[in-house]
Symmetry: none
Subunit: 217 residues, 4 copies
DNA sequence: GATGAATGAGGCTTCATTCAT
DNA sequence: AATGAATGAAGCCTCATTCAT
């Protein structure tokens, strides 16, 4: 919140930063190679510490993964409620804002990394997957559902099944960014985050809005 | 200890079926536990043969995975062109048919399994991922793109960017089935494949069609 | 002894020839890759039969090796005594004849192969090595020892320790052919079997003969 | 079951010595059983460490073998040149010195072990065999050749083909020590290194020297 | 606290041998 | 008798985790 302008020197390694550095390193390597194929020694090297030191902060490789997920969840869990509260505005405007933010974040590979890993490892860490689901997915879905329901109540949207309609909001983002990153699809200009969001928003809004409402935006 | 006299044959000689049995077993276990966490011995046991026998048909665990993907790709690659050719019909009708077929297939965990695994292991098998992408994803996207473009040319659809619009067709399916299976979301009745497809189709078609076209379906 | 001139057609595979064909194949492969690195399947393929068939003639890979050694030993064991009996001639002439025969044989890689393998595998097949030693090495040494002793008795040679002098007869052959084949030493013309034997004989005879005997040969 | 209280350290930390200890253990076992028949676990046990520890120092069993050869080669490659330089002396004296040193070394099973293994495994490690040949065999042969040529130039020796004559120097050593060790030949007193060298030298020198030179030594 | 040497269970793979066909 | 599919013991190697220094 308060950026004093004096950038924290990267080289100052402080003990309390270590766990986070380990998690950063892990995130990078897990995203690159998957959980099983990532060696603790590699994590240590990437974090600039020794293998043994890793075990000072985390009791096992699995715990690193759990902490990684929990670290990512924490801020999301806190901020999510804002989404619902802020919805005093026009539903269409709100939805566009949400989509834009989401697209911006998901177009960053580092942000996409964790959801991807969780998806990958869900079967091996069922409880963690459930935690992620409840803390992140359910909240996001819940928030979007609420936005849609409010839009329906306000008369902005047609009376659709809000819970199912959420798939039409989230899905195209998934298809674009997840497949895009995983398979390297459509790296051309036409697929820039911006133009994609324009297209998605255009189609989605027409699909949700009442016919007489006229053009979206 | 107790020999009843009825000799149980240690194994059957059934070379022709074995490779497929191994692949079936592998698909099941890979889907369940991922590639790395699946032991060759488990595959063998699941296939009802010995560890060593697996290596008569596949030279390594990786080759099993590759064969699995190729086996799944083959029929898809053949049938895909049909999709484009059949499109003499009304674009809306065609699109609904496609969505219904896709939903039916994807709601079967066994069908969804392979795409899931490919997604999971893409970073560890980059070439295989690219093969899958070209043979399956690109074709599917291409076919859908063609349907949309024909719809635009016929005046059924608004002039949208067909390539990007494809995300709005595929994405909700992904969100529904992939996340649904992975995280166990929404197992309630409201989320039946049928009702989801109705919802998806309704929103999607309104988003694509010209306003004056009237109600979809 | 009786060569009728009608060469046995190679392509006529008869059951009674099989064991020898297996041994031929084994000799070739053992010489090439060693005992451990040679697979029974490779032997079978080389012999033009199936893996199972090999086990009809030999009960194990070790037995193949044993048979190989015994097959090679048999004729040697029979012929060796001749060497001692023939020694009515001049010791120098006899020794030269022996050296020439030995050099001719050892310059053929196929002949050298078995001694090489026996040397290689001696520690893994101690009994076989002892059999080989007694049947081949001891006899050869014994025969040469006898030749030398007779030479001394006749006054052709100086009174040397015959048993130790045998090393001076055999050793250079070993050095030339064994090292030559194993390490590919001296493939030039100067190292032809013939010129080597001339050199060896020249040096050896001068070493053994009485000074006053004059030039050898 | 019975904890006496005196904690036995599971291992010592001794990284610097370990590689050599592993090589020593490997040499012993390779010499005894051959490369293929020696298990990494056996090497580890012989070296007093665990299987895994071996892999801290060598990335594979093959690398152990390579290191073994290189370790043995290094000092030889350095010292060999001395042999040629020292040859200010009488050729006969020099040759006897060389033979005596060689015999002393080769009569030690531990010294003979490596050449034996290299000979055994030459076909499986062709590059290593060539390295050994160039670094050890070619140098030794070259040095001996030089001694002989100098002897000829000085008028000590007859004009023989030096390159081929080298076989008469080396060969008897090979026959005596290599066969002796491999097949357990002549363990009697008559075959002591000393008496063998006397015999070999006696026969060899007479073979090389000019008739009028008189008795060797 | 930090380090990295050491451990050892566990996985992949090979291949001699067996035996149903 | 021949075949080659199947077995399974055994070996190489990996790597998460421990712990002496």
């Amino acid at each position: 919140m308060m950026d004093t302008g004096q950038s924290e020197p990267k080289w100052r390694r402080r003990a309390e930063d270590r766990p986070d550095e380990v998690l950063d390193a892990s995130l990078k390597l897990f995203a690159q190679n998957g959980f099983a194929a990532t060696k603790v020694e590699d994590i240590a090297t990437e974090a600039g510490i020794s293998k043994g030191a890793v075990y000072r902060y985390f009791s096992s490789k699995e715990e690193i993964f759990e902490s990684l997920v929990k670290r990512a969840i924490a801020p999301i869990a806190e901020r999510t409620e804002d989404l619902a509260r802020t919805s005093h505005e026009d539903s269409a405007v709100l939805l566009k804002a949400v989509l834009t933010v989401a697209a911006t974040k998901l177009s960053d590979p580092d942000t996409l990394a964790l959801p991807r890993i969780v998806l990958q490892e869900a079967s091996r860490f069922p409880e963690l997957a459930q935690t992620y689901r409840r803390q992140v997915i359910d909240r996001a879905i819940g928030a979007l559902e609420l936005i849609i329901e409010k839009g329906i109540a306000r008369g902005d949207f047609r009376p659709v099944n809000a819970r199912l309609a959420v798939r039409n909001v989230i899905g195209p983002l998934l298809a674009h960014f997840l497949l895009g990153q995983t398979f390297g699809i459509d790296r051309e200009a036409s697929a820039s985050p911006h133009s994609f969001i324009e297209s998605h928003y255009d189609i989605l809004m027409r699909g949700l809005m009442k016919p007489e409402t006229g053009e979206p935006q």
